[in-house]
Amino acid sequence: MDTISFAFQGLIPAFIFFTVIYGFAKGVPVYDSFVSGAKDGIGIIIGIFPYVLAIFIAVKTFEASGAHDFIKNMFSIVAAPLHIPAEVFSVAIVKPFSNAASLGIFTEILKSSGPDSLASMMAAVIMGSAETTFYVLAVYLGAVGIKKTKYLVPVCLAADMTGVVIVIILVKLLY
């Protein structure tokens, strides 16, 4: 594991090193090129900011209003007879919106039910296999100013839900 993670950590530095050396070898003014590319960054982020803000308002108020706890309790009514830990749904609901928030919930699960429990295993696999869907949607669509998204949002929602069901079945089968 240590060697693998070392190799992965080395990926970005190796990529940067290669890019700069290759550019230099090809006679590119690497410093000027870098600066002219990097100057576009701030413009992109200014364009994205309102979208990110909208998503954050939705997530933070959803948590603070108690709506999140309510939905979690609803799920636990369904989940208990199936022997699925209710905490899993917290991660599943929050992960599509915010990585930081879902990490917080995951850490709570680790503390409360132990790192080798079924709840922790399921939550861990969801953490690894799900994405921050709405954040990605907001940022990627915001970056190019797309407003008409056709059927993208329902597809993403359906895919996320299927993903969680797959994880629950898979972890149930394997442990």
Binding site: A25, F49, I57, A64, S65, L110, D116, A130, T162
Partner: protein, 194 residues
Amino acid sequence: MNTVWLVVVCISIVFAAINGRIDGFTKAMFEAGKAAVEVCLYLVGIVSLWLGLTKILEDSGLIYKLSNFFRPAISFLFKNIPEGHPSITSMTLNLLANLFGLGNAATPLGIKAMEDLQTLNTENDTITFEMMLFIVINTSSIQLIPFTTIGLLASYGSQNPNVIILPTIIATVISSATAVGILYLFKKFSRKDR
């Protein structure tokens, strides 16, 4: 997105009222503002960094070699993208970054990919099928080894945190395939959009 946002915000307001947490709601809104600024400030740095690096790749011509190299794999899915188009490279780099769990690198490269895809778009504010496919693959996340999660499991004293690797890979592959399948299903039933 309009519907999703409206529903979530309305639910929050109603629940805040019922639970007597209106003050919490207001506080959360200001916290959201702060968090959004923090995230964007952080993004300015890395997005600019990656844009600078990809500019070097572009000027040195390497980006075109890379895109030719990955062309077969990407064009299998993205059939309508012309040969040698920069979006192939930016999408490839983004997907590779995701694969290796390099989230910090993946977002800027994804934004770059969206901009490259936008150059092929004839209607500026309407999404193309290629964009949808790219986003769907992105949001179903193809990741080989979830380092953060394993790290957390280990730090809380898990006996063998690596056991989650296999189910994570299986789950991510199945869910990505399902996601692409669902997208094609929707495409099939909304012919009028094409």
